[in-house]
Symmetry: D2
Subunit: 317 residues, 4 copies
């Protein structure tokens, strides 16, 4: 009975959050650097929560696919750690960057080693590790299959229009890759890692699919349906720590302060948030705040955390 | 029976950690910028853990007082939030700084607003809020009484030699204060806030006393002995979030990654670490690592977290 | 006959420049950080040129005293080089700073050594050298006597109101001094150097007096009336080089590009410009451009350089 | 008779300088980032001076060709100013950078506009202007013909091995170009401008040839043999101003202070220095000082300036 009530209460919370967000007048600014992102309406809002018991709870546009963009960095980081373990950390740091997501300044000061795997430079290094000298096409297929497996959903796709648009405009990422190559921190064939990077960012998932894909992170690294150990419990906790510390660019401190849950945002307006042992949450609203994170998505997660008490800093958790 | 076992196991863990740390050949470098700190032997190691049930567990030099230095910033932040609540955040930010504890660069770029209350500039603003135009002597007394009350221990003192040494050499802090004053972010009488700052850093506590003082932070803001609400549960979680995000200067990401517990370090070699709902922990070893945090103290907390599973990212917590 | 014509032509040029500047609609922004500067009318414009033959040519408000502010740094640099010669360069650099006049960032990156003697931090170190452990009052008298001697004019004064206002508001300079002290690059008694610095900036000269004071810099270091060697020919050329490279903060490149004459500006709107072997020029108009240099003063010097061919890059010079 | 004496004295000065440099034990470090540069012996030293009367004076290895590298930036800047005049300055600044030649930090802070045309980023923009949408091969031919014309010497070549090596290793320059492209400050086809840039840097000239090529800069922009106006007198003075302000990266202040002559250095160890109206000077020694400028070349020019009185800050010039 208690479980039923709790679940009913969660559905009521999500419903109330959805109503509040649907009515919100200030919805942030949709990313406009590529046409495919610019044409998405800021009116969208969706949320999906998957509990430890496997139950799925959604509200709003929870089944509309969107471009997950930087949220994909969580999945490629997992793949890179699977392949190379802690060797990865000789090529990328684990500290908050204190600057914007595409900053090149820090790279110069620190000899081509990106501060963490969630700023663009760090994610490009991670893509280089995942690529591992293979053909980009093969690695792109690997990433897509990995995310489908995590989400138990073969319908997930990569939006090639988005990927090609990013490749055609992402000169700052090309600059970052070449800059790191000049320090010896990239395979000489940077085009390959960049191609993978542009394609992983173009992964198209709905909130439901994204929350499904994130289940292993609330579950100590184990796939809840197959029982497969995707990654060790220790590394799972470390990925969650990185999400909390660095998952929202230079708005990470604010997010930890207000929401208190590990999360990773993308400029498509999606956020994946993990309550260890409790819930895998995906939220989506395309309008961004000044730090480049989903404005309503952040508000929604703050509401959800307040209503449920979900916070890694909560003593009763 | 189970409780007894768990407690016995904790004592065994602390004992093993103490033995390992006593034998550690690499002990870091003792801070030498003032004579009182420089003369402390790097051989010291102490740890104290207070559980939610009030039981106290110690090993090593847990009853030797040391200069808590920047750990004091947690207590003055609590006092400032008591006084002014969220108004504080118009004068100090909540983001990791991405640079060293005494950096002045960020202040210039961001118009005199320190990134967070745990870098020196931010803590000086917090001291200015605590001082609130009063006489420094009175405010110093307030801080001392507050910490004694938190720890339920009237024997806690401020080491005036340390305070005076810091006042006589802390020119960079004088520079920070005047720099913020030039932006209008300090009371014109900066000497008062600086005097308070130098004295709070000179608070002298043992590991046992420090862990006692930190109990309210594991206990949703309530003093476990008196039942007094020191600060609201929400603000308590936020202080813990700030400790995790910013408590170890530009080694905060590393600490969150390895230990996963909110903590605040000081150059005297002390660290206060909080496991919400579980434990208040103090550890002390004077030798520092390259980021200015206690080398063995950090190792000890990593060992403790591994052995106990205490991590805010642990699903079973 | 030719000399008479050249002189007549110079007077005509100055007269035309004065007329153009009197009519200029865009006059820049008067510095307003202290009341004494803020109340000066932007309508003022004055210019004085002293040729190698000693003849004096003026136009506009050439006899109205104004606060020379940072132009004074040229004179205290001369005094410091008289005292210590090239030893000075262990405490202050000789490179353009690439940043604003009161930037503290560069100091952090370069261990408390200011980039050059004309940014505020560098000038404060120079004042510390001039002070040399003496009483500030005595050193202030020395500087005043030195400038009077250079200008052959006992009527020059220091405006104590300006000096006191700057002392009461110059917290950023207090910050710079304490910051350098923390690196050991200031005498511990920073108040003395700051007092001297605030008073030298409050020197009050007319264009005529300032051009007179600058004569030694066009004359290989020798006072043209007394024949006294103020400073060696080599050091004179080096002071002129520093003025060209660093005399207009981060507008120095632009000034060298457009005007091509060594010059030093101040926020009071004055500029001292030196054509080696030819002319000592002072210009004054209180409105500043975006880089903090006199807007009309800069225009006037560009006009003068174009009309006379005075440029250190002119082959016919 | 006087002319003969002066000339004889110059030959004696060059001879003495050559002897001193031949014997110098500390010769700096040869650039080693590409094999073609690394294999050049640091024992080389050469100097060539061309006076306004056309007489040529040399000492040492004045007829050994070397890779002029960044000295070429002076010639492409001249070509870009010929083509577009002051429009160029909307894409590149005129201020000293205050940082290293290949710094990317400043670009981020200033929206993709390089500080000046002599840092790498600025020179790449200049090459983009020179290319002007043409085929790189054609533009490379234009630059080669231009330098041959300036030097009146058809034997000058581009070392394709050097150009190809730079293309194969110059990833930081690729990063700079893409970074500026992301700000819209490069033609999308960055490969073309980079190809031109790598080839202009591979121009191979002896001191004699380089001093010949620089004659127009001492001669108000006019080719002394053909009488052709290469560039206007005003722009000539401005190029010389830029050389003085920015020609030696973040050693420019030091060079202006010690030598006082507009100059441009290259990592091949060459320096072109211009005494307006007097002399075009080329010096070469492959070992570099800490700022990346020829160590003995700089010393030699300081000796030459002292012995001849050549300095733009010299009143008797």
């Amino acid at each position: 009975v208690e479980v039923v009530e709790r679940v009913n209460r969660l559905d009521a919370i999500l419903s109330a959050i959805n109503a509040e967000m649907a009515a919100a007048p200030e919805r942030g600014t949709v990313a406009d650097y590529i046409p495919s992102l610019a044409k998405v309406s800021p009116d969208h809002f969706g949320i999906a929560v998957i509990l430890a018991d496997g139950s799925i709870h959604t509200a709003g546009d929870a089944d509309t696919p969107f471009s997950i963009q930087s949220v994909s960095k969580v999945f490629t980081l997992t793949m890179a750690l699977q392949k190379h373990g802690d060797e990865l950390w000789s090529r990328v740091g684990r500290e908050p960057s204190g600057s914007a997501f595409n900053s090149i300044v820090q790279l110069e000061n620190e000899g081509g080693i990106p501060r963490n795997p969630f700023i663009n430079a760090g994610a490009i290094v991670v893509s280089d590790v995942v690529l591992d000298g293979a053909e980009p096409r093969a690695a792109i297929g690997d990433v897509l299959r990995f995310v489908r497996m995590l989400a138990s959903d073969e319908a997930i796709t990569i939006d090639n229009d988005v990927a090609n648009s990013e490749a055609a405009t992402g000169f700052r990422n090309v600059a970052l890759a070449n800059y790191m190559k000049s320090f010896g921190n990239m395979d000489p064939y940077v085009e390959g890692a960049l191609k993978l990077y542009f394609h992983q960012c173009a992964l198209s998932l709905s909130c439901r699919q994204l929350a499904m894909a994130g289940r292993y992170l609330m579950n100590d690294g184990t796939h809840p349906q197959t029982g497969e150990a995707i990654i060790s419990p220790l590394l799972t906790r470390r990925i969650n720590a990185l999400m909390l510390m660095c998952g929202h660019y230079d708005g990470s401190g604010e997010f930890a302060f207000r929401v208190g849950i590990p999360g990773k945002s993308g400029v498509g307006g999606g956020i994946l948030a993990i309550v260890p042992g409790r819930a895998s949450i995906a939220v989506w609203s395309p309008g961004l705040n000044a730090r480049g994170n989903s404005k309503l998505g952040t508000h929604a997660l703050e509401r959800l955390a307040d209503a449920t008490g979900w916070s890694v800093f909560m003593p009763t958790l």
